[in-house]
Symmetry: C2
Subunit: 346 residues, 2 copies
Amino acid sequence: MPELRKDPVVGRWVIMATERSKRPSDFAKEREPRKGTPCVFCAGMEHLTPPEVRSYRDDTSAANQPGWRVRTVPNKFPALRIEGPPGRRGEGLYDLMNGIGAHEVIIETPDHDLGMADYEPRQIEEVLWMYRERVLDLSKDERFRYAIVFKNHGAEAGASLEHPHSQLIALPIVPLNVQQELRGANGYYGLKERCIFCDVVSQESRDGRRVVFESERFIAASPFAARFPFEIWILPREHGSHFERASAPEYRDLAMVLKATLGALKTALDDPPFNYIIHSAPLREEGSNHYHWHVEITPALTKVAGFEVGTGFYINPVPPETAAAHLRAVLNGAAEPAGLTQAPTG
Amino acid sequence: MPELRKDPVVGRWVIMATERSKRPSDFAKEREPRKGTPCVFCAGMEHLTPPEVRSYRDDTSAANQPGWRVRTVPNKFPALRIEGPPGRRGEGLYDLMNGIGAHEVIIETPDHDLGMADYEPRQIEEVLWMYRERVLDLSKDERFRYAIVFKNHGAEAGASLEHPHSQLIALPIVPLNVQQELRGANGYYGLKERCIFCDVVSQESRDGRRVVFESERFIAASPFAARFPFEIWILPREHGSHFERASAPEYRDLAMVLKATLGALKTALDDPPFNYIIHSAPLREEGSNHYHWHVEITPALTKVAGFEVGTGFYINPVPPETAAAHLRAVLNGAAEPAGLTQAPTG
């Protein structure tokens, strides 16, 4: 059983994968991602993954057969085990618990060669619905406190398979950065009785310099203190604490905004590696008036070295105003993609 | 003038290098580090760096000429500017200030081809004295609140030049991770009236499973909740809040422990890329009874992806007990390096 161990000073949890532990010689060279088709995530290769947990597919097709549009399977090499008690315990001054949790893979499309920016908006919308459905299902398990939904695109961003996919990790703890966000947002609310993210949405929309794209329900902007060149956050205009409680029109709108934003990044930066993470409040918590769910997209253009990781202090060579202006130009210059309507900025 | 901008939610500061801002096309390919000798940091090439701030050299040699053993120069492409007022100001709900600070490079040896594990212990000791001297000198500047001393070894760890060097960044703010450490350590002190790091030293020394090397004054151990395979922390046994206030015997001892630890990593992992960061209390603060300076060494064996950066949640495939046992075996099996004495463990 893997363990979850907590750093006693800062409260950061780490999964210690004690079972499939690597030998030192395994680190001599980092493996390149496997390439080529058909891969284990391609249509027709369903027998090579663990049996699917959920899929959106043609009514005429059967589970674990072709005919699916979006397909969720357990991770074949999960970092956490789904079964077992939390087993919270101490070891001297340290805290640890059993490495329980869920680790699922959302295969976003049967088409190996597409990037998310190339999907039809409806395809992205189905991926978002799949996220929602899996988070809601896993949140029934009282042991789990948080669900991280994220996507790695490109080897430099940590993707170990080319075929487009997202991941979901359900955890019995709340990750450190989420704790910090919650604490910060709560502090601001105590001072102002307003959600800080709502204030950010309002200031960014009014200011306009960092806006990449605006829709009826969302704003995509490069954050004021962006850590990375071309970092983009997508925030819903209407306050809501949980991604999985958003409305159908919001998912439809977000799919369009994701397509526009990822498309602009792809054009501007020649299909850069990137990650996105959905930031949402802890599972089953009452709707909070101070936390505001959103998506953070971070292109992996610069190497993140131990300096940044060790200090939490970043040097960004591209101001967000420059990045946003560039992406707006790409969006305005390009032939308008089908289904995209861009509201005026500023 | 670069800017320091603060994330309004979590309080993370970012240097926004507005002047030497890159164009999007610059990111198409990340540059490989320049290779080959003689390089700008080699003996005889002193005219290619900005004039030295300080050097340890033969009495017969002149500044900015060969004859030095350790040499500190301003970074030729500094992320921060040394001159100017802090200029703290607001922009709506955001906080920012002028990007003032110092950015220096400590050239650790004239020999291009050595790694720190290969230096004579006396050479490492001189590097540590240089760190101390530069931090104390910069701490006279009332604008600066924190000094980060760190080393990147190898391109994968962010080193842009092969020639062995460290860096020092003096900042008008305290980095986020340091704030967290201070808060965590303070909370523990409030509860226990003991330093948490002192308790860690004591428990690790007694337990022994995670110990890599012990000396009279230091313990090198892989932390209980190590984020990375073969992560090692070196902690002084005697409580002290500031690296720059350590004693001469401590620097001498730390040099030996660094040589042993980095030597074991080099042997075990075939000269891996790594970073180390000296964690110390903010400049000019009174000696704190709850913060305990130490060195964190993080080998860059696994890719740090947006997932880890975005969540502060890590998956470590090598438990610290396994890493430490391996490094102890290397240290015990190898012919004892000159000047090394290893105290019995456990």
